[in-house]
């Protein structure tokens, strides 16, 4: 296979867990709450999906359980931030470390156990299209679900009443209060759904992509997702593109090495992060102006509840 096809196909597969998490973070931040615990939701999602997959032999049951676990962790964040007025930064990071500790502890028995993962399912006809078929349609079913999820999240956020509530909670919470809505409930729901999506991202990593559980296996992908949301200016479509771009940046190193290119591997490892810095530099001011207005209150600790 050519280098480009190899890298892009690898980028789509490797970027999917990041895309799930970043979609979730988009929903959360659109409601005015930053969740730095995405990495934690991915971890609990990855372990729960793996454990349920091992016990039941059904990867779909695992993915569902992973989503629930990710949602539960995010719900705790929502409760602390929205109802108790806790610092968003402190709460998110604390929950990440809690998740890291808990998953290391409870995950130990699942290390090395084989899971019935999703496996590859080539989409009939579509997978035969040259290049495009290889890049998009020779993957696992959970990855195809993510194709549908991007327009779904976009539709809900921008075309439904629920989405309007979420976006208003993130832009101008006061006006929701004036109209008699409960901002806190809206935010709690958005953050919890965000955590569920991150949990699905973790499930993709452990039961569809890498087919293994290991402590701390998310290794920073949750933080890449948080950065990605900014660089995608809170748009689900751009999140999709950005996640695949990150995936490609990660896949580029191994693909070049496997072809024997004499490029320094440590330099290659830095590519995804250099990419982030470049995009942040280029988009700098634009990201600030299009950020949900309530996010700018993060440093006043509690989001405004009117």
């Amino acid at each position: 296979m050519s280098l480009a096809v190899d890298v892009v196909a690898g980028g789509v597969a490797g970027g999917t867990s990041i895309m799930y998490a970043a979609l979730g973070e988009t929903v959360s931040e659109r409601s005015g709450v930053i969740n730095l615990g995405v990495e934690g939701s991915m971890l609990v999602g990855a372990l729960t999906a793996y454990a349920v997959g091992v016990e039941t032999g059904n990867p779909w049951a695992g993915a569902l359980a992973g989503a629930i676990a990710g949602g539960v962790l995010a719900f705790v964040h929502a409760f602390l931030v929205v109802y108790r007025g806790a610092s968003q930064m402190a709460s998110g990071l604390s929950l990440l470390f809690l998740a890291l500790g808990l998953t290391s502890l409870f995950g130990a028995t699942y290390v090395g156990q084989a899971v019935v993962g999703f496996g590859t399912w080539d989409v009939p006809l579509l997978s035969d299209i040259p290049v495009l078929g290889t890049v998009l349609f020779q993957h696992d079913p959970l990855l195809y679900v993510s194709f549908a999820l991007v327009p779904a999240v976009w539709f809900v956020l921008f075309k439904t009443r629920a989405g309007l509530l979420v976006r208003t909670a993130g832009e101008r919470a006061d006006s929701l209060v004036v109209h008699g809505y409960d901002v806190r409930r809206t935010r709690t729901a958005a953050v919890t759904v965000g955590g569920m999506l991150a949990g699905l991202g973790g499930a993709h990593l452990s039961t569809a992509y890498a087919n293994a559980w290991f402590e701390n296996m998310v290794s920073g992908r949750g933080f890449i997702a948080v950065a990605l949301v900014i660089f995608a200016v809170w748009s689900p479509w751009r999140v999709m593109g950005g996640a695949y771009l990150f995936g490609c940046a990660i896949a580029l190193g191994p693909a070049l090495q496997a072809r024997g290119y004499g490029i320094n591997q440590f330099l290659l490892d830095a590519v995804p992060f250099v990419l982030t810095l470049v995009v942040l530099t280029v988009l700098g001011r634009r990201t600030l102006s299009s950020s949900p207005a309530e996010l700018k209150r993060v440093f006043e600790n509690a989001p405004s509840t009117g």
Binding site: T109, G112, L205, N211, A212, F214, M217, Q257
Partner: protein, 386 residues
Amino acid sequence: MSIRHSTGRTVVATFALALALAGCSSATESSDSTDSSGSSAPGKDTAAVGFIMVGPKDDYGYNQAVYEGSEVIKKEFPDLDVLTAENVPEDDTAATTMEQMIDKGAKLIFATSYGHLDAALKVAEEHPDVVVVQQGNTITTDIPKNAGTYFGTVYEPMYLAGIAAGASTKSDKLGYVYAFPIPQTIANINAFERGAQSVNPKAETITVSTSSWCDPGKQQAAAESLLSQGVDVLTQHQDCTATVIQAAEKAGAMTVGYHADASSLAPKGWLTGAVWDWGPLYTDIVKTVVAGDFIGSKFNDNYRVGYKTGTNPFVLAKYGPDVTADTQAKIDEAQTFLGTDKGSPFVGPVKDQSGAVKIPDGTVPSYADNDAMDFFVEGVVGKLAQ
């Protein structure tokens, strides 16, 4: 990212240590403080032995092998308290963890990760009555009286596994997923390639680094990139091994394992692997230290044990269905050869990737020479980061 990573591990490590120590503190406290046996024989009559591990004790890999070794010590020396701490990061936390073990009566500590060496030497300097031995790294300065390093020669079984890979490959392309270009890994890759070449001169080994001892996501990307290049035998030097093995099996490729017998994960493609058996070596070290004979012993050095010098803690895993009787006979023959004075995977001439002769014709390098290997041999594809 690395800071966050270590901090997370610290939390876990401290927690695990607390659990481990809570379980056995009552037994030791009465015996160790009064009868100090003097500084002349560090570690003599220790009441406890400590093991620190960089990862979880059940990773089906490096750390599990250490833990199983520590279980052997528990059985062989029922009077000793065996303290274990998992997930101890390769920074000052390691020193703190060792100090806590010393407080619990341990005068012999096994620091079992490559990156634990600095902390091990620091603790050894501060506690002249405690022996600290480190697994896998090399002390490059003067060796203190109460410290040493030890390791097996994993590249010997990897050479044998290379024979199995070279004989079984159809594309003549072997793939190697590794973490970092440390000498131990370089020697493994070179030995694997030379083993393959010994039965299949066309075999080449393509290398991909993940820059991580265990990042299953990166391993998957590495495995996919190798498989798409036509590689049909995958092997690795990673702490967690399940992802690469399953990626190979899914693609219908063969696999050579590392650390643990993972044939259950790859019933079709499993060839063999280099797996661990630390018990006998740990037992030797504990015996030497408890008897007060550590200073000047072979363990008070950069000790390497291989087929030539004794019981190599690395052994070859059982064979999978694709390894023919003919190949098995060749492997047996090679193992006998490695055990002789003239045996080595690196008997000269050994050329590097540019074709320059690095080990002259007929020269048999020592274990110490191989531990300092810093070049890929001819037939290995990939660039070493300098």
